[in-house]
């Protein structure tokens, strides 16, 4: 060791270390700028470092999956539980939302027809199988105050009438059916009256008909047809549908109009049943309503 300390090699190495320290001191004086050599080296190694970093990130991500698998599993389980909880809340929210919308509809209807007594919103359980007139069953019945021949409506307009009422379900005959006749009138003119009565052809396209219209009527396409309420079966002034077309009836003594219902009776999810209204006939067992 003593020989080494006396040797030229030691002096050279000492000078080398001093040189390195000099570089260090010089780099301090650069005031935040890299040394030229360092900048050059960084420039050269940049693509390699980028590539290496990309590989490393990939490796880290892969290894991370394995090293933290248990944590991820637990997190996954927690998230699943949370998703389940949120889904339940979402379901409740959707139900509440639907209820709110239904109530809004109900409120709007009630505001328009203060004398009407409604049931709560009745969910449509399902349509009668293979019925061309789209009769359906609702989830409310006698227990909710529904009786046969109660008008069934939505906020948009008249749907039909209850025909088969059980304790908790009811069957609704729609205005597409030829078995249901509703006295109707033009909303603009009480002179243009007729009878809403469906037929097979109109029902295929989701429409109904206004028949027995006097010749010389002033009805035109787009006019709104409403209930006249003369029979006591349906409340007065309730929207039914708009005129799509008018043509002479097959009997030659009156006109006939195709009516597009205000509500699409083929795609209902819930309806309201009017259990009572001003002018209702209490003794009515028939579902025929003549003007």
């Amino acid at each position: 060791m003593r020989d080494f300390l006396k040797s030229t090699k030691f002096k050279v190495l000492l000078f080398f270390v001093a040189f390195l320290i000099g570089i260090m001191v010089y780099s301090v004086t650069r005031g935040g700028y890299s040394l030229r050599g360092v900048s050059f080296f960084n420039t050269i190694t940049k693509p390699f470092r980028s590539a290496s970093n990309g590989i490393s990130r990939g490796v880290e991500d892969t290894l991370d999956k394995y090293t933290h698998a248990s944590e991820y599993y637990e997190e996954n389980q927690q998230l699943k539980e949370e998703i389940g909880r949120l889904n339940r809340e979402l379901t409740e929210y959707e139900a509440l939302k639907a209820e709110v919308e239904e109530l809004r509809e109900l409120v709007s209807i009630k505001q328009e027809h203060e004398d009407f007594e409604y049931t709560e919103a009745c969910d449509v359980i399902g349509y009668i199988t293979n019925d061309p007139f789209m009769s359906f069953t609702i989830a409310k019945g006698k227990a909710e105050g529904i009786t046969p021949n109660c008008p069934v409506v939505t906020a948009e307009g008249l749907v039909g009438i209850t025909v088969d009422v059980s304790e908790h379900t009811s069957t609704v005959r729609t205005i597409l059916s030829p078995d249901l006749s509703v006295a109707a009138v033009n909303s603009k003119s009480n002179k243009d009256m007729g009878i809403i009565e469906g037929d097979i052809l109109s029902a295929e396209s989701g429409n109904t008909r206004l028949i027995h219209i006097n010749k010389g009527n002033t009805l035109k396409k787009g006019d709104l047809i409403i209930t006249s309420g003369t029979s006591g079966l349906f409340p007065k002034d309730y929207s039914i549908g708009k005129i799509k077309s008018i043509s002479p009836d097959s009997n030659g003594i009156s006109d006939c109009a195709v009516i597009e219902p205000c509500c699409d009776v083929t795609r209902l999810s819930s309806v309201y049943v009017i259990t009572n209204f001003t002018g209702k006939r209490e003794d009515l067992n028939e579902n025929k309503d003549t003007p």
Partner: protein
């Protein structure tokens, strides 16, 4: 010392160049690994510099140590020249120790690497954290510096294997004549 033939001389040059090329390739790979990703990583260049210094002379050890130090400075964002000077000095000392006192054994290597890595981490902590009196600065040492130190020691095993493999295949062997061997044996007996 036996006189080498021109062919042997050429092979020696070739092997030496190839050996140092591989050394610096390993250094460069260590640098790339150190600068990649986001995890806490070992200071791979410390065991690398030590492993190179073990089987080589003081000059080459100093240069390779300085180079590794520069790369550490760049990779770790330290003052350029700080680790270079540190590693250059330590590599010279290590080279001398191996030349004069120590045998080329794994235990010696790992102990020296552990000591040097600890010194490097400790100085780093002292100069870059504790000196500036950050709040809860001791957590840096316990949570970061010690982790880096432990990782460096673990990774040193792999570095040692690689460098030793290169040395085994490419390091020139000292050929001695029978007379030189006898004289060496006589001197050792005296």
């Amino acid at each position: 010392m036996r006189i080498r033939t021109p062919r042997e001389q050429r092979i020696l040059y070739f092997k030496t160049i190839l050996r140092w090329t591989l050394y610096y390739l390993v250094i460069f790979l260590c640098f790339l690994i150190m600068t990649s990703g986001t995890w806490t990583k070992p200071i791979l260049l410390v065991p690398c510099a030590v492993a190179i210094a073990v089987g080589n002379g003081q000059y080459s050890s100093a240069v390779s140590g300085a180079f590794c130090g520069f790369l550490i400075d760049i990779a770790c964002g330290k003052l350029v020249g700080y680790n270079a000077a540190l590693l250059a000095v330590f590599c010279i000392i290590i080279s001398l120790l191996y030349e004069l006192y120590l045998r080329n054994k794994f235990v010696n290597y790992i102990v020296i690497t552990a000591v040097l890595a600890y010194i490097q981490c400790w100085l780093d902590y002292k100069f870059y954290y504790e000196m500036w009196e950050y709040d809860n600065v001791e957590r840096i040492f316990s949570q970061l510096s010690m982790k880096v130190w432990a990782l460096t020691i673990i990774s040193a095993c792999l570095i040692y294997i690689i460098i030793e493999f290169i040395n085994k295949k490419l390091m020139p062997k000292n050929h001695v004549t029978i007379e030189e061997a006898i004289n060496t044996a006589i001197r050792s007996e005296k």
